[in-house]
């Protein structure tokens, strides 16, 4: 009788010890943002126009809106900010890489410096059609003794998804 009682008690204890919560489920997220390659197109050059001296270090300024300040010098001709269009996947943020300055080389001799550091655009966001436009201005310093001529050069602009 005693042996049987012990067996019954052990059976009850074994049945009651099974863990109630031996499994758990959680949900992990999986994400990916797929975008088209960016396309960057220049639509206008940075142009200060024709500037007539005498020069003494004046700074001719074409800002990002394309407005020109001739600093008291006589200016004429076509002028404007550099303009670009960037195209890609809609609603994506883009980061621009623009140099702070560019050195123009004269058609006869000499160089002139253009400071673009204060006329850079904010990084654009592509619109609902995947497009954005931006402009770049600059400040042209013309020191005394600058030789007459056409001064020009190129500078690189890069656009990447943020």
């Amino acid at each position: 009788m005693k042996k049987l009682l012990i067996s019954a008690g052990a059976l009850a204890a074994l049945a009651l010890s099974t863990p109630a919560f031996a499994a758990n489920t959680a949900s992990a997220n999986a994400t990916v943002n797929i975008v088209s390659p960016l396309s960057l197109t220049k639509t206008a050059d940075l142009n200060f126009g024709t500037v007539v001296g005498p020069f003494a270090g004046q700074v001719v300024h074409v800002d990002g809106t394309g407005a020109r300040d001739c600093a008291g010098l006589t200016c004429s001709g076509t002028f404007g900010a550099a303009a670009f269009t960037v195209t890609g996947t809609p609603d994506q943020n883009v980061v621009l890489t623009i140099p702070d300055s560019v050195t123009l080389s004269g058609s006869v001799s000499g160089t002139l410096d253009v400071d673009m550091s204060t006329d850079k655009p904010v990084d654009p966001t592509l619109d609902g059609t995947g497009n954005a436009s931006f402009a770049i201005g600059g400040k042209l310093t013309i020191p005394a003794g600058t030789v007459d001529g056409v001064y020009s050069n190129t500078f690189d602009v890069t656009a990447n998804y943020l």
């Binding site: 959680a26 949900s27 992990a28 990916v32 943002n33």
Partner: protein
């Protein structure tokens, strides 16, 4: 008399076992959005799963109009081929931690594939989902087990969009 008393005792023990067994916690494995079921047991034998980082391919740039694939492996390495350019350095492997009884072996269940959807209604497939778990995963002396998981996405050239999906992960004691 002795025989009937014995039968009554055994039946009472079985009844007690049936009354004492608590129902298993509900798990909705077939639901589209499985929820985490935290153990209601306060004892040390409860098993818990914590997702530390989700699987994130970050940004993939399409470089063509054909098909492309990108893979993130559990060791964190990655590769892209076909119409997809290289994977962003910000891409992240998924990580999770299991908490439970030290030394216990566990079984971890990951789906082999899931669908990811964009707001615009697009759908891409994340498949070949694998982890770095050994064949017999075991909780360490502190009752923890950390593992990483990755997978592969397949896209076609017109698949622009921000895609998201849920991956249900289940752990249980062996």
């Amino acid at each position: 008399m002795g025989g009937s008393n014995l039968r009554a005792l055994v039946l009472a023990a079985v009844a007690a076992a049936a009354a004492g067994a608590s129902p298993a916690g509900g798990q909705c494995r077939l639901c589209t959005a499985p929820t985490t079921t935290m153990s209601r047991a306060t004892g040390d034998d409860a098993i818990q799963l914590e997702i530390e980082t989700s699987l994130n391919f970050d940004r993939l740039v399409l470089s063509g109009t054909g098909q492309g694939t990108a893979v993130i492996r559990p060791d964190g390495s990655n590769a892209a081929e076909g119409a997809l350019a290289s994977i962003s350095p910000r891409a992240m492997v998924g990580t999770a931690v299991v908490h439970g009884v030290p030394g216990r072996t566990v079984r971890v269940e990951l789906p082999h594939r899931v669908d990811l959807y964009s707001i615009g209604g697009g759908r891409i497939t994340l498949d070949d989902i694998v982890s770095d778990l050994p064949s017999l995963p075991q909780l360490d002396s502190a009752g923890n087990l950390t593992f990483r998981f990755g997978g592969r996405v397949r896209v076609t050239g017109d698949a622009d969009g921000d895609y998201r999906g849920d991956m249900p992960v289940t752990v249980e004691y062996q």
